[in-house]
Symmetry: C2
Subunit: 324 residues, 2 copies
Amino acid sequence: MKRAFVTGGAGFIGSSLVDRLLADGCAVVAWDNFSTGQERFLEAAQTHPAFTLVRGDNLDAPALTRAMAGCDIVFHFAANADVRFGLAHPERDLQQNTIATFNVLEAMRANGIRRIAFSSTGSVYGEAKVIPTPESAPFPVQTSLYGASKLAGEGMISAYCEGFGCEAYIFRFVSILGARYTHGHIFDFYKQLREHPGYLAVLGDGMQRKSYLHISDCLDAVLRVVCTSPAAKTPPRVQIYNLGTAEYCQVRDSIAWICGRLGLKPELRFGGGQRGWVGDNPFIFLDTAKIRATGWQPKLSIQQGVVRTVEWLMENQWVLDARA
Amino acid sequence: MKRAFVTGGAGFIGSSLVDRLLADGCAVVAWDNFSTGQERFLEAAQTHPAFTLVRGDNLDAPALTRAMAGCDIVFHFAANADVRFGLAHPERDLQQNTIATFNVLEAMRANGIRRIAFSSTGSVYGEAKVIPTPESAPFPVQTSLYGASKLAGEGMISAYCEGFGCEAYIFRFVSILGARYTHGHIFDFYKQLREHPGYLAVLGDGMQRKSYLHISDCLDAVLRVVCTSPAAKTPPRVQIYNLGTAEYCQVRDSIAWICGRLGLKPELRFGGGQRGWVGDNPFIFLDTAKIRATGWQPKLSIQQGVVRTVEWLMENQWVLDARA
């Protein structure tokens, strides 16, 4: 890995990866359309001589192909990650996730790049019947357009590996927390409490059980898989790993941690129902035995991740307005 | 079901379905871009007063939406079904299957149509580890762009059902045989033997184990599921059924049946290797307990299906030239 191409390189996870790769001595081309990415996330990277930023959209296939020239691995981390509002604009997941992934694969093929790491999601398991959910869980029924589009991406990537001899590392993430976090329940709650510290509107009944992972632990896992040669002489072309902690929390737990850190005791106003929105999964908990077998383990608990995210938001309130 | 919309209505399976629906008293709008569909398959339907043919492509979303007006169910049977040549034009499965399915779903939403039957494929199981493969098999790695695109279609359909309250019947077909058969190994072998009866070139080693189902049995199963209310009071929004016989055959068996019917003893020239092509699955055999539990069972064996298909090709040699 000498020169990495990072789609979504100005986003939460992408820009954090950019910094890690540069620190590890890898040249990096970050590619982003800045629909949700932030220039400020790349301020440190911009001072590094081995860093290149290219503005562009994954739907502009010729520009994507040109930008990728000379790279030897692609971290395809760009996505419409807005699970909750998928139904409001169904074409977005198709375009920004499914078609975008196809364009990335074709640009790799045009450039002779054979390695891809892909940020998939635990949402591909739909409402799993096996919990904690292993990578080999029964064939799921999709419940969100986001999950369906990531599943479509996984499928195309796998078929390209089989057909064109590429190698893929597919990571099914739980929700990721930490510095540069720009959407999700902590973001929403923090923003609400800044506006009205006396109450907090909560989707669903607050009993939803969710899993989270801190960005530093997430990137440790990704880079361990991508940089370490597997023990097998002929590793499978497609390596799939769940990424998460070995625990989950309830939305109510997270609220208590957030409010505790902020020193607030807001009235909680629950929307009701088991689900936060149509297609919301009331219980996400992934079996992470496979990634743990590589020697990786998370350093931070969910509670620590939540508190650190709150602290980062407190120090970076500009992001609340930038993502308004 | 009063007025059905059939995408791919001039194709092998679609046109056969059109005839069945008309015979059952249902009005039918057939939609086809005639990329592989045949006018001659609709000759009988064209004489029926309840039949309408609309020429159009699934990528033309406005025309698709207009054509669907007034229908109460969609049989989405149009597809690029060319598994073998997916790698030669990777964009075709994305466009004709994935994006096309999205357009069908959006056209349904615009028209307030809430029921969809979808022709998926046993290829979504990739190289299954559980054989015979049940609907709930472990989460597979995709090996073909065709399978990946059908999986993408299933995912979107399921997410639409969850998000917009639709009802879907997803059928994972093995290869279908019978009258109007226009591609596949019998087509290829028959065409070869017409040109050179003395030898037959066979992809792979001929040991590939495959499953087939006759079109009449296939449509019996589809219509049984779609027309029969399930026993459950609140049937699942997404009903998934494998469709196949409870047997499989080897390519060598099929060759013997074909040659036996034709009275030929050609020299067999095997290409070699376990797979017929990159991404070919050397063993496809689906567990069909779920569809059998509805009371359906196939009337024809694989051997009968193969022989009938040969006989139809003998009587309809025009199709060999039409699909040249």
